[in-house]
């Protein structure tokens, strides 16, 4: 569907619908002990790993959804289910009203997929040849191809390496080319699995800008996974956090900060040594400047300043929110501490 047709559709359409999705992997256990190796030939020990435990998720047309979670949480499994590369053991996966496995050919012509560590580019061919390949295999009408190629070359800056071989490109250039390829047929949904993995700061910024831009211009629904929460916060209004195969949080980043821990940093410049503040943890102290972290949901900043003033002469004060990565690290740490206990997480 062309972008101009798509814009006429209500933005409130549900395009991704996961209902009660379960996925279990069976892993054969191996031992280093010889006798156990021999006995496992006859009686193998199989461990079942529940990658997804009854996931329910809906995504509206035009949304950018960040899909996050620690290693092994089930992010890539979900993206593979949504891309039609895996079948659920139970539950249903419907995207754009289609079953990704049963309606594979119709379905994949309407979506785009980019895996950060893989490339669709033809290695020994110029990027131009890979784009031409995409046009022929996806049967993209010439007029649409020319229009989209022009747009993508402009916003992704593909001109500079369009006639270079894929194997000669930097990681950032390859990712730009892969993103361009994934969007050439104007997919309605784009699944991005770790699109910024291994990229330098500049390349990362370009990719993030492009993703938000293409969402705005083409109304492409985007689901993106990343370990880099700062990237995700920059991209998406909504974050879905998955833990041990279940959705632990679904909402916006502000609420995530408020409900889990409103972590702040307090920087105090004083004449004497660092004051001891009840409710805040000193993380660094150098040249009379002392940095603390505290949870603003439980500790009032005024109370901390009163304590500091009572102990020393305060010259300057600064406070700011902790980076989202710190917040997420706290959440993951809490999850690990709970060691398998159900996560008391709010969902919207």
């Amino acid at each position: 569907m062309a972008a101009r047709d798509r814009s006429a559709i209500s933005r409130s359409d549900t395009v991704v619908e996961l209902s009660g999705v379960h996925k279990v992997y069976r892993q054969r256990q191996r031992s280093a002990n010889l006798s156990q190796v021999l006995s496992s030939l006859l009686h193998p020990t199989i461990r079942e790993v529940e990658a997804l435990r009854g996931i329910d998720l809906r995504v509206q047309r035009g949304e950018i959804v960040a899909y996050a979670g620690p290693n092994g949480a089930g992010k890539s499994t979900t993206v593979k289910l949504l891309s039609g590369l895996l079948a659920p053991d139970a539950g249903s996966v419907r995207v754009l009203g289609l079953d990704p496995i049963r309606d594979r050919t119709r379905y994949v012509s309407r979506i785009g997929v980019v895996f950060g560590q893989r490339t669709e580019l033809w290695w020994d061919q110029p990027i131009a040849a890979s784009f031409e390949w995409k046009r022929v295999v996806w049967d993209i009408p010439r007029e649409r191809y020319v229009r989209m190629l022009g747009l993508l070359q402009e916003v992704l800056g593909l001109h500079e390496f369009f006639h270079s071989l894929a194997r000669e490109l930097s990681l950032g250039q390859k990712m730009r080319a892969d993103l361009g390829m994934a969007l050439l047929h104007e997919p309605e949904i784009l699944f991005l699995d770790e699109p910024t993995l291994g990229l330098d700061v500049l390349a990362k910024r370009d990719i993030l800008t492009f993703i938000t831009d293409i969402n705005r211009r083409q109304h492409v629904t985007i689901m993106v996974t990343s370990h880099d929460m700062a990237d995700l916060e920059q991209l998406a209004g909504r974050v879905v956090m998955i833990h041990r195969g279940s959705i632990a949080y679904d909402g916006d980043f502000d609420r995530l900060r408020r409900e889990y821990a409103d972590r702040r940093r307090l920087s105090i410049e004083s004449v004497g040594p660092a004051p001891l503040l009840d409710g805040a943890q000193l993380v660094s102290s150098a040249g009379g400047r002392h940095e603390y972290v505290f949870d603003a949901a439980h500790v009032k900043i005024a109370a901390l300043l009163d304590q500091a003033s009572a102990q020393t002469e305060v010259l300057d004060v600064e406070t700011h929110r902790a980076p989202i990565d710190d917040v997420i690290a706290d959440i993951y740490e809490a999850w690990q501490r709970e060691a398998g206990a159900p996560v008391p997480a709010p969902t919207s």
Binding site: Y25, R26, T77, K80, S83, G84, L85, L86, A87, D89, I101, R104, T105, R106, V108, S109, V113, F115, Q117, R118, T119, E120, L121, W122, W123, D124, Q125, A129, E132, W133, V136, V137, W138, D139
Partner: protein
């Protein structure tokens, strides 16, 4: 993707073959030195592969019931059947265990085309492999020029049908064996190298005089007998039975059905487990 009529399917197939052929030609023109070296090594490998059987036949004036020109024809047939998968199923399509075992099958599944169409067209690389046909054509032309069999339109049609059938049997065997990688990706990643080597080395000898059990094995479990010996025997009239010329095509039908069944089961397994590993090596190079 609109349509699924035979006319649309044919148009798609032709468009895809044309595109992959053109891509191959452009690659060839860009890297002529590598191409020359590869082609030369392909030709030398092909000649070396048949040299021992050819020399034996020349030294003893044939092998068993087979005259030297008949042996030469069989070797030409064997080389031709070996070259066609290179032309049509390059980029590891013929070595499907590599794609499955390395997790590269995901790249196939995200293309909006039937799987059979992707596998039939994606490896088409006629220009970089075509010269490898020369030794095969030379070995076929020499005995036919010496009158080993009368060449008529009907015989040529039977020859073409048998060649296609032999290729289909070789590819089916490769697909069946390669599908093991769906269940054991790491262990079976390179299994198609061994399966092709097995067929290539066994297809070069006439199997007359072997025990019934061994002959049956070489026509079923490891169908090397259908890649040169049996069809050549039928085409040259060494086996006088009239139906012999249809045996290889019928065997091909059975082999293709079996391969389709095994591959589909493998795909279901892939849908359950996905690829647990990914290697970019050999992907689209």
């Amino acid at each position: 993707m609109a349509g699924s009529s035979p006319a649309w399917t044919l148009r798609r197939l032709l468009a895809l073959w044309r595109f992959y052929g053109a891509m191959d030609l452009k690659w060839m023109m860009r890297d002529a030195r590598s191409l020359l070296l590869w082609t030369l090594s392909d030709v030398i490998t092909a000649i070396s592969a048949v040299a021992s059987t050819l020399l034996l036949a020349a030294r003893f004036n044939g092998i068993g019931r087979w005259s030297t020109p008949q042996i030469t024809f069989m070797l030409g047939y064997a080389l031709l059947v070996g070259m066609i998968p290179n032309i049509f199923f390059n980029y590891n399509v013929a070595y499907i265990s590599r794609r499955i075992g390395r997790g590269q099958f995901d790249h196939v599944l995200v293309q909006p085309q039937p799987l059979w169409m992707i596998l039939l067209t994606e490896g088409f690389s006629p220009f970089t492999t075509m010269l490898g046909l020369l030794p095969a054509l030379a070995l076929l032309a020499w005995p036919l020029g010496r009158g080993v069999h009368t060449v008529t339109i009907g015989w040529l049609a039977a020859f073409g049908l048998n060649v296609v059938a032999s290729v289909a049997i070789a590819l089916s065997f490769s697909l069946i064996v390669g599908s093991l990688a769906f269940w054991a990706p790491r262990a079976a990643e390179e299994i198609n190298s061994s399966s092709w080597h097995l067929l290539e080395s066994l297809k070069l000898f006439p199997l007359d005089g072997m025990g019934a059990g061994l002959t049956a094995t070489l026509l079923t479990a490891v169908p090397a007998g259908f890649l040169a010996w049996y069809p050549s025997r039928a085409l040259l009239g060494i086996d006088g039975a009239g139906y012999a010329i249809l045996v290889t095509p019928l065997a091909a039908v059975v082999a293709v059905l079996l391969a389709t069944w095994v591959f589909r089961r493998g795909l279901r397994q892939y849908g359950r487990t996905g690829s647990q590993r990914y290697l970019s090596f050999g992907h689209r190079r």
